[in-house]
Symmetry: C2
């Protein structure tokens, strides 16, 4: 029997690197994305076409997109905040545009410095630009990432109805891909299962991706809960990099190699080659100049063989028959 | 409807502190255990009656057991390797004796420097001593912890039949409590669910505790899988301290506050006061002289309120009606 397929997206070059205090050299970003491209991901979030002033860490978006070697079967997505960003990204031949706004009004204002109403208007324009251009040249898919979908660090609980209202809004604009994002690690399994079931039931044609952060140690459990509810696409960041500004020192995104390791053990086909992936993850501490949260990078696969101490063979020679 | 009850055991004073390179002062251990005693645990593993030469970090076992203030409703358990340890522990008025051996022959030799056959013989003597003494004075419960039940870092996979054979052995000696231990963080959810179901079905009178390590980021998911299979008792260590010698720098035991935080969100009654617990966890970095893995210690409860930036109120004043 074929194993059920789970599609993995690595978002470390965008959601990870944008959070780093140092600028990672363009040539290093390109080598990193090229290595990621050989691992079997369905999608890689390569960079962000935001203003270089807003996110200087990703000011080399054009160079990255022009110079990476794209692997067949991998979608290259980029974050796009506005029409200017969309135009820059289209000039680079992206596969997907990832648009973002928050479900929480307060978080939208804090993060994007706009009301949700202003975001809806602005993203509406971006979607129109993307849809118009797509029709004449290469088809560009549109994904909308809804931040703080499982809780807001400032407002607290977020009503399911608020999330579904936004899904509905974008569905009516022809958007076929939505990411439900747990931006600051507030999601928990039973909440995830409930929301995912409802979203899938109400929007059966929509492709949903789940985007978890491991801020409170629940990313892995949330992935399994989402799968229970029929979700088959996940964002994660290699090494578990990225972060949440409201929990300094805490873990960042769901860690790609931890998710892949778990899903393989649970009998899913992720398409990702864990051995290759580990070699790429091993590049990270040097690239970002600090230790990364990945447990698998420290401990290896569960079946990593360790040699027994020499004295093990000498114990109980006279009593080898075990009761 | 009453929430389902889950019984939490904190093992940080034994499984955590024994792994520390520094000696934690006896007075500090006592204050720590006294604080833990006020948090609502069903059981606290307070220390180990091993040879002071083998584990110098816990050489003050008698002083700790004599001087802690025991809270009503909390069982105080201690690790006991042999008859000498049992006699020392009985003199301190313990509630439970925790005996340990490995399911893996190689791990038993490496860790205990005995064959499994020798361990079975030795633990048989300890059980007899405990059962005899219990009958004349205070009743002392016997728990047997089976290490490497979900995999051995040297042998690899461990057959379910090997674990069940040992459970059977101890059940026939009148043992009513067994801990299934994932000593080096090799367990994964579907494996846990399967083994726990079988163990519960075969030994319906046995009280099983599950003991996970978070070495590969799976402790939380494994707890939920065990609950699926009807398990209601878990070991965990405050701060996630403790460790696995085969994964230097990786996480240690399942983190008590992470497990409690998750189980509360999932609708279980753990009996543990998370607010009090967090205050005790905050003592740890100073006690052990290093950062601890706990995510909750860094990020707080999911509903920890963060103030919004001042500019949030000034945004979009003319457009307050949200679409």
């Amino acid at each position: 029997m074929a194993k059920p397929r789970i599609y993995m997206h690595d978002v470390s070059p965008r959601d990870g690197f944008q959070n780093e205090s140092i600028f990672i050299e363009t040539v290093d970003k390109i080598a990193f994305i090229n290595a990621l491209s050989q691992c079997g991901f369905a999608k890689i979030e390569a960079t962000s076409f935001t203003s270089p002033k807003a996110i200087p860490a990703l000011r080399d978006a054009e160079d990255v997109m022009h110079e990476i070697v794209r692997a067949p079967g991998v979608e290259y997505t980029v974050l796009i905040p506005n029409v200017r960003g969309a135009e820059r990204a289209l000039a680079c031949g992206i596969d997907e545009a990832n648009l973002v706004m928050s479900v929480s009004e307060t978080h939208n204002r804090a993060n994007l410095r706009m009301t949700r109403e202003q975001s809806l208007a602005q993203l509406g324009q971006v979607i129109e630009v993307l849809q118009t251009r797509s029709s004449v040249s290469k088809r560009v898919a549109v994904n909308v990432s809804l931040s703080t979908g499982f809780g807001c660090p400032m407002e607290g609980e977020i009503a399911e109805s608020e999330i579904l209202r936004l899904v509905d809004n974008f569905a009516r604009q022809g958007v076929k891909r939505i990411s439900l994002c747990d931006t600051t690690g507030m999601a928990f399994p039973s909440q995830v299962r409930k929301l995912c079931r409802k979203a899938k039931a109400n929007y059966p044609e929509m492709t949903f991706t789940l985007h978890f952060h491991n801020t409170r140690g629940l990313a892995q459990s949330n992935v399994l809960a989402a799968i229970d509810a029929g979700i088959d696409r996940f964002d994660a960041a290699l090494g578990g990099i990225g972060g949440c500004p409201y929990a300094p020192g805490a873990s960042g995104n769901a860690c790609t190699e931890e998710v892949v390791h778990m899903l393989e053990l649970e009998g899913f086909d992720t398409g990702v080659d864990l051995t290759k992936l580990m070699a790429v993850s091993a590049m990270l501490p040097n690239l970002v100049q600090h230790d990364v949260p990945s447990q698998i990078l420290k401990a290896g696969h569960r079946l990593t063989a360790h040699p027994a101490p020499a004295y093990v063979q000498e114990i109980g020679q006279a009593q080898r028959v075990v009761a």
